[in-house]
Symmetry: C2
Subunit: 397 residues, 2 copies
């Protein structure tokens, strides 16, 4: 299935979602996407635009693309829009003509306070749009498209799931390859270089920005999180945690793996490390057990979070999970706590066909950081692993 | 000079621009930049953010970064902000505390109807920001930062100019290399592959999206503009036009080159092709002559446009020029006609230190398309070439 076929598949899905959510028209309004690109374009177009462009998907099934003259050939070649209208000087006339023809009760546009993946309309473009429809009946019919986009992005088709699974497999192969090269004394930034090389050799992209894909947390002094890998060297008696993912055929993975470097006199990790590992694994499994159709995002987070804190470990300061697909943080429902910065994204309902990365971590004093992250598919019966989960802490002897 | 030093250089420049434009505070407000990234981040940060982040640059010279816990180490490492404040649950409290302390008369934020490069604030983030300051004196002090950003982005430092010049040189070397391989029968998409290979072999990125960098227009039936290279084959008696640029060390080039494929019985291009080439060159030079400090964008376009139409050729249906720098369409003033879709971007005033790509083209019936594009630096005396301009049509024998 080609990229263009994937786009046509998503457009068919979009029409069904508009019907289901009782929305007449979904309008994606973009320009010069090399500067700021609406993440929805990847779902409904598959390439960028240069001039102001209006992609209109109607509940009736019609799909109209109003685009600049030089962008039109690409959209025509895609074969996904029933009508490709091109213009030279201004989008105003064709845009208003088609709005009037559709006469929608609601015009869903791409802004969202809760979901970054549904927030591709810039404020400047919103103001332009307001200016274009000023004085028409459509000026006060704009609503947020966040629920349309969330459903569209979150419901992965079999083909999308297959591609994510392949990206996961490719990532696991890289983890295994690099695991064999690890030894004390290597600085974190060199480990990061190895991951970059391994991805490049296999023709793979990275799941997120190169400067912190992977993150490499080596020992207790290395900063945790989205930090760039630093000079901290791998050392005996320390933990090494790596958060990494690759992009393959437009889809990505997001995994964490953790190693322990045995001290000279050790044959297995010390008790504090083993206990922390077991607690982290149990908390991850508790979250996975709660991840099933009908659950709310925050309920899944709570199950993992309370298991971890109940075992006496500090709460992780991030969300337990997020969608994975075309991007590593793939929008829509977040499996996170009810903190203000998550907005309403954590109130979303889990659906079969969703794919999530689930993750948590535990710092171990004087040792470093244990991080677990797996990719899972929600089925009617629960969440099944797409990754081969890390069941035991890997030791470097 | 490292990337971090370039960022610190731009921040110093930003403070001076706030003073010059009488603006108290410039606020860049972003989140999850892997989904939608504000193009300004490249100027004032150099990497992405995950949580909601407020980058505040004050006319007083203070630079405060309020960022999520896991993003903080990277910002601290950058060493460009006088104060790095991190939070876990909500940005509200530190944001309001610092706003109150600065007590700005204006808060310039990143939206613009005219300049895509100054329009990185999404509508959802604008709404969040409104919610955060609701009920404070700051709720109605937001203004567009487009002039701040335009000046900051447009005034290239010597180091920035040097990097663009290097990207131009690298591009010219690729044009020369591929020019030697051209022969009739090769399809346009294969020519595009050669450019991709040449860039990859030299460790260079592309200036814009891979699917139309380069664009390859082969003969009269190939679509012109931002179209993806198709199956049209190079043929004798036809023109070949390529629009291409590379990214090197964070800066890009944007050039067009045109070849003519001599027919079996020709020793030079036919008269219609030669005349069109000469008219295009003259129009480009007329535009370049008008490109000097103090001129308005539309005046430069008009000089080129009227020269071309005065010679009896059709007007090009795009702008004559655009800034080039960190991106191929580098925001700020556009050298374009007074068409609605260009908004006020074409009213900007040219400054010394600006770098533009200037371009135009002429279709030749039954032959194909002649495209010219050069990169130039505006000096106090006028516009000097950064590229080695294509003076004559290149012929393939």
């Amino acid at each position: 299935m080609s990229k263009f076929e994937l786009v046509r598949e998503k457009l068919d899905q979009a029409v069904a979602i508009l019907e289901e959510q009782d929305v007449d028209l979904w309008l994606t309004f973009v320009r010069e996407t090399s500067q700021v690109s609406d993440p929805c374009l990847d779902l409904i177009l598959g390439f960028g635009m240069t001039w102001q462009s209006a992609l209109m998907i109607a509940r009736t099934g019609e799909r109209v693309a109003i685009v600049g003259r030089y962008d039109a050939p690409n959209v025509e070649q895609l074969g996904a829009y029933t009508d490709v209208v091109s213009y030279d000087q201004s989008i105003r006339e064709p845009l208003l003509a088609h709005l009037t023809r559709f006469d929608p009760r609601q015009i869903a546009v791409n802004y969202s306070e809760n979901d970054p993946a549904a927030d591709g309309l810039t404020h400047g473009m919103f103001r332009i749009l307001q200016g274009l429809v000023e004085g028409t009946p459509y000026a006060d019919r704009f609503v947020s498209a966040e629920e349309v986009i969330g459903a569209l992005r979150g419901r992965k088709s079999p083909q999308e799931i297959a591609r994510i699974r392949e990206a996961v497999r490719a990532t696991e192969a890289i983890f295994e390859h690099i695991g064999q090269r690890l030894q004390p004394g290597v600085p974190a930034h060199e480990v990061a270089d190895w991951f970059h090389q391994a991805a490049a050799e296999r023709g793979l992209g990275l799941s997120w920005a190169r400067d912190h894909c992977p993150t490499v947390t080596a020992g207790p002094d290395s900063p945790v999180g989205h930090a760039m890998p630093g000079d901290f060297a791998l050392a005996r008696g320390h933990l090494l945690q790596v958060d990494f993912g690759v992009e393959q055929a437009g889809f990505v993975s997001d995994l964490q793996r953790t190693w322990y470097f045995l001290a000279e006199d050790e044959s297995e990790p010390p008790l504090d490390v083993q206990e922390a590992w077991t607690a982290a694994r149990r908390a991850l499994e508790a979250g996975r057990a709660a991840l099933r159709p009908g659950a709310r995002g925050w309920e899944v987070d709570r199950a993992a979070r309370e298991t971890l804190t109940g075992a006496g470990y500090p709460a992780y300061m991030h969300a337990f999970g997020h969608h994975v697909g075309r991007t590593a943080h793939d929008g829509a429902t977040v499996l996170g706590p009810r903190w203000e910065r998550y907005g309403t994204s954590i109130k979303g309902v889990i659906e079969a066909g969703n794919v999530f990365a689930i993750e948590l971590g535990v710092p171990v004093p004087e040792r470093g950081y244990i991080g677990l992250e797996e990719d899972v598919l929600v089925t009617p019966d629960g969440a099944e692993y797409l990754s081969d989960p890390q069941q035991v802490l890997w030791c470097v002897g």
